[in-house]
Symmetry: C2
Subunit: 250 residues, 2 copies
């Protein structure tokens, strides 16, 4: 196959951008990934795309907007496990397991493309490098869930919030939606509370502390890093864990 | 390729057993997996196999014994993320990322085989089905970390312990090391405490409560389920999430 630059539209594809951080994708790989984006659908804010306990569930790739994955507990409370941004899979485990073990809900209006188990396995058979890249993406997601676990288990409320905002910033930079000064963020204080195991009032207080300490502000839908290095130190944020200096697998 | 039964030694291989729950492995797939087990080494209890922050780290596949993965925090405390049992990867993320984001330590004397990034990518190229199976295994591990997150965020201490023991039981059954009556468990109360975000004294009290309620006992290195169904209800344990009725991908 001759090497030619990917088409501009593929370069804009957030999943291509993300996977390219790990694996140098061939034009054919890019085609296969772009193919996953073709059946794009719109979902209104609040729509549940994946249902805990549902069998034979598809996955989705998020093209625009934000989503969140969460577990419902018997008492009616919920724990948000993670937020998804463009280029992320929604419910990848749902196509690999028989039953979905979590819910996924649209946080904003979103565009997402359905990916069936059959699509995914066909893509992996056509281009094994893609399976490796998706394994990497899944491992990165696991690394983030591990950090959220450490957040809940051992970090103070303000360290938790700082770590969370730094992580979101790093993820969004990877898909071209943020930079070292900050990023647009549609999350409410209620969503932050359910993710960080805090009350909404507590979220408010923690954000005020971080602002007053000159570290970070979150106002009118935008997170601004005021002192990035100090925030990294404060949160014990591991710069390596989401850092990418080019593909590992060329 | 002619279908022939895998050799008895391959059937005994816990990684083959585990991956077979998801993908029907061909004799060639089994050979490739068995190849990963060849360079088996012994490690003494307490040895650290993977170091947080280390670059160019290999992964291991655990053949016998137990290990634990954990994160060290700035204050010198640690959060155990998960325990590994035979058939599990140790540090899979370390070969997929440039830098290891966690530590792995031998909880007992263990046997483990080193797997380099090169081995793994070569295996995936030879048999793409294996990449899919490993992606499934990584997703299952992520599902467990998600449950541990819910444990810390939203479950009481005794629900946490009950959920943890049920999950370990399900994982060990999958590799033939336990059944519905219970399993051998080498974990100390200190390790349980670091995994569940409790003090060792609290672990002791919670285990006594579960025993007095006739649900489960953990004594002299053995977990015995006294009333499995009641324990599942008590912990809101999702039976589906580690259940396997045969390979999904035939």
């Amino acid at each position: 196959m001759t090497e030619r630059p990917a088409t501009p539209s593929s370069q804009d594809n957030p999943l291509v951008r993300k996977l390219s951080a790990f694996v140098r994708l061939s034009p054919n790989d890019v085609e296969v990934v772009a193919g996953m984006f073709r059946r794009r659908r719109n979902f209104a804010m609040g729509v549940e795309l994946i249902h805990q306990g549902q069998v034979g569930q598809s996955a989705f790739v998020l093209a625009s907007g934000w989503a969140c994955s969460y577990k419902l507990l018997s008492g009616g409370t919920r724990q948000i496990v993670d937020f998804q941004v463009p280029g992320d899979f929604l419910g990848l485990r749902s196509v690999l397991f028989r039953t979905s073990d979590h819910n996924v809900e649209a946080v904003t209006t979103i565009q997402a493309s359905e990916v069936t188990q059959r699509d995914l396995l066909a893509a992996f058979t056509e281009t094994p490098r893609l399976a490796t890249a998706v394994l990497w993406a899944a491992s990165r997601d696991e690394a983030m869930v591990v950090e959220h676990l450490v957040n809940l288990g051992r970090r103070s409320a303000s360290e938790r919030m700082a770590h969370f905002l730094l992580e979101l910033g790093a993820r969004l930079r990877l898909v071209g939606m943020g930079n070292s000064t900050g990023f647009a963020c549609p999350l409410s204080q209620y969503l932050l509370a359910d993710a960080l195991g805090l009350s909404a009032v507590h979220v408010n207080r923690v954000l005020r502390e971080l602002r007053e300490d000159g570290l970070v502000t979150f106002r009118r839908g935008r997170v601004e890093f005021r002192n990035y290095d100090a925030l990294v130190d404060f949160a014990s944020f591991d710069r390596a864990y989401l850092d990418h200096d080019g593909p590992l697998l060329s």
